[in-house]
């Protein structure tokens, strides 16, 4: 099971955090600080896996963003890398060659997409098509509402 996922920039700015275990806020901040420092200090080409406390850290850098997950001792490291990759693919497809700015300005979307991929720290849907379909139907609902709202505003409903 994944314990948490953090996205942060090369400057160490946290861009997204998702916790699958209930930690007190203080602890969350401490963990984040420690991990960001540890990972930023690592050189490229180093191993993507780290022993950390009683769990394992799997991280990967995509352009200016680091994706970092904590998993349990028995979890599969390589496949966790691919969960990260799948998430990046989904963001990319949704935003159209995603960049850090997309995630900053649309953080809520980044959360919604992640929720379709993982629930409670376990992978829910591995099919890219199905996740995008789910997100698209969310967006559709929103658009219908927006159209409805506009119509109401101009007195047509």
């Amino acid at each position: 099971m994944m314990l948490f996922m953090l996205l942060f920039s090369r400057q160490g700015k946290l861009r997204l955090q998702k916790w699958y275990m209930a930690y007190p806020d203080k602890v969350k901040k401490k963990i984040t600080r420690e991990l960001v420092t540890t990972i930023l200090a690592r050189k490229p080409k180093m191993c993507s896996f780290l022993e950390w406390k009683d769990c394992k850290i799997v991280y990967k850098r995509y352009a200016s963003l680091y994706f970092c997950c904590a998993i349990e001792q028995n979890d599969n490291e390589l496949l966790t890398l691919e969960i990260i990759h799948r998430y990046v693919e989904l963001l990319d497809k949704y935003f159209g060659s995603v960049c850090e700015l997309d995630i900053i300005f649309n953080f809520e979307k980044a959360y919604f997409i992640l929720d379709e991929l993982l629930i409670g720290g376990e992978i829910q849907e591995t099919s890219k098509k199905n996740v995008l379909k789910a997100i698209a139907s969310q967006d559709l609902l929103q658009e219908d509402e927006a159209v409805e709202g506009t119509l109401r505003d101009i007195g047509l409903l």
């Binding site: 946290l14 955090q17 022993e51 390589l78 691919e82 300005f105 953080f107 992978i123 849907e125 927006a146």
Partner: protein
Amino acid sequence: MAPVRGDGMRGLAVFISDIRNCKSKEAEVKRINKELANIRSKFKGDKTLDGYQKKKYVCKLLFIFLLGHDIDFGHMEAVNLLSSNKYSEKQIGYLFISVLVNTNSDLIRLIIQSIKNDLQSRNPVHVNLALQCIANIGSRDMAESFSNEIPKLLVSGDTMDVVKQSAALCLLRLFRSSPDIIPGGEWTSRIIHLLNDQHMGVVTAATSLIDALVKRNPDEYKGCVNLAVSRLSRIVTASYTDLQDYTYYFVPAPWLSVKLLRLLQNYNPVTEEPGVRARLNETLETILNKAQEPPKSKKVQHSNAKNAVLFEAINLIIHSDSEPNLLVRACNQLGQFLSNRETNLRYLALESMCHLATSEFSHEEVKKHQEVVILSMKMEKDVSVRQMAVDLLYAMCDRANAEEIVQEMLNYLETADYSIREEMVLKVAILAEKYATDYTWYVDVILNLIRIAGDYVSEEVWYRVIQIVINREEVQGYAAKTVFEALQAPACHENMVKVGGYILGEFGNLIAGDSRSAPLVQFKLLHSKYHLCSPMTRALLLSTYIKFINLFPEIRTNIQEVFRQHSNLRSADAELQQRASEYLQLSIVASTDVLATVLEEMPSFPERESSILTVLKKKKPGRVPENEIRESKSPAPTSVVQNNTHVNHNKLNSNANADLLGLSTPPSNNVNNTNNTLIDVLGDIYGNNNAAVYNTKKFLFKNNGVLFENEMLQIGVKSEFRQNLGRLGLFYGNKTQVALSNFNPVLQWSAEDALKLNVQMKAVEPTLEAGAQIQQLLTAECIEDYADAPTIEISFRYNGTQQKFSIKLPLSVNKFFEPTEMNAESFFARWKNLSGEQQRSQKVFKAQQPLDLPGARNKLMGFGMQLLDNVDPNPDNMVCAGIIHTQTQQVGCLLRLEPNKQAQMFRLTIRASKETVTREICDLLSDQF
């Protein structure tokens, strides 16, 4: 930017841009505070906000939170949004709650009804939103509120696949906080059969759930094995086009494959049905075969996914540990990875091989890769990979390759990263001890360790080398010679001085014949280091010097001179001062004979597991690769591994071990009591073990000392007894850095027992501050003789966890003994008088090794009776007399302890005027010698 998006929120985008344009941290904080004030006033204002505005402000709050600021309002607005009819508002409400609300928030109760409504929605998007929220919060409240709905959603035929997927994982999340949420009975088979579902997404999610359920109740879910094996087999043999979108970079359903392989690891043996077993082995072979095929893509995603499945298959092979052929193939495959271009693969291969090294089928196979692993240790760029290589070397080490591996590790230690040195030192020390055929090699290794990485050599390591040298006569001369040589280096580590001082003090005489290491040379060499050392080491050296006086009377004056030096005799350090003056007096006053007795060679240490191993295990709980080859598992059906009970069992075991440790006080401790100062360097070896030390039995023979000690708490006791009254002071010392709260010692002594021994205990403060000590006074009045002794149960909270343990108080009935002096005639007269059946009690028991008569005498003296000399015609026999004072009567009691040296046995006879006393005293003392 996004091609399709719901409705953008302009205000939010502007705010985010503003923040990004801030030139300094201060400016950012200022902008945020302004925004917070604005939002607060909007929320408080009279004007009702419409849904869009609420949504926008709540989003801003979320963004501020993500920047690392605390948010303490807006929750009610979020709850409002969550119950909105509009999906776009609802979604933001849910997001805010998921991100910001803690599991135990009161708010949760406010949203439960809205969530219920959404769960019943006909639109799967709404249902999933609700399920994701339940899973995100995952509290007991949630479990209790939805224990009906969610299991139904999971197995109902009407539920859409996307909802089933979410429901499975939501249920898993709730199960983790409230295991009782899973209905048993017919549900079990319905849940298991989700493995056969048409929809791969449903199977993937359900497998995670089933894995957790199996861990809780393997027998009930055993039916999943066959389904899992056949599903796995179908996936593995599928072509990558078969599974369409569930194929990931040409690998068919890697996530599901890995999950199924994990699921099967819950059982051992995985299956007892030969057919299923064959199919599983075939599947595992297919996976191994595929690893040899050329890659279908150059992308790293392809190789990662493929290898993820391969590693998990290897995990299952290692877990079963019953198919030599598969184990060997796995090992070969991993061997190839050791020189792969990808750091990740090399790392994982090393890790996996650590496990293979512990199987008897693949241990030899792993050893073939020794050279590559040594190269990894030396050459890898990443310290975590080097560390893994060290772990593997440790795991693959056995008698045949120990010398080479230890040598390589020593070589590497000179340049090793600081972060892994300490652990490496421990590992080298353990391997050297474990596989030493020749103890001179062992001594060399440890001295090398100290030379190369002295700072990282912990006390346990150098204590251990001394224990071993003392216990092995054949190596003592060599050890003395080697330390003598090592000490000649101009700069040598303080740990070397400690070991050198100790060993020369014990065995310096073995090399004194050589003029190059004549007594005076040894002494001068050691003393040349004296002034550079810490007080603790100096104290040890002073002990060495007094031992020298015994070994080499000819250098007595040189040594006395050192004792007399101002810096010693008037040292600011009380310990040094005391040693210098006591040793000086000893060397002046004592005759050669007395000196020789006092400074006799150290007795052997009891053989026990290396304390270094304990330290290593503690450093890396759960992750120390074993250096132990497992017994192969017989393919015959054995009982199912129950993970949970297994864990509990281990816990029980470790408790039991801790208790045993306390009950069987190592003999060295007693020796310690007799010749106190001289061996105190090693005196606390067992105290350092970190396991709880619990010494009640020792307190049969003494009244003061440390009764109990673990990492958190030390309990000392001081007691005195007169007639039938006793007073006991318990000293609780908090060893931690935090206060222990709810500190509460409770006496456990039944009302019935209290009629015989009345114990009164003063209350203590409920808080024990960090590093502080508090005292608790107890009074005891012996009214009538009694059996056993009262227990005290101590509970407190440490770092939020409740701690509780019980300790027997040193209040056994012998404490009320008054020693009675008498001559042989009156002793035997009374002895004969007490010859009735009820007045006698006798036990014959095996002596603790080795049979220790002076030790037994000491114990008897501490027991409370008078040890009578020249009474028994046989000088080896020990006889004692005493009176137990109770309020109602006085009970006379005689004791005789007869050793049988040949048989290494003792016979203990107790005679007393009261039957219960006879039995109790006999019980207390049996097995104590």
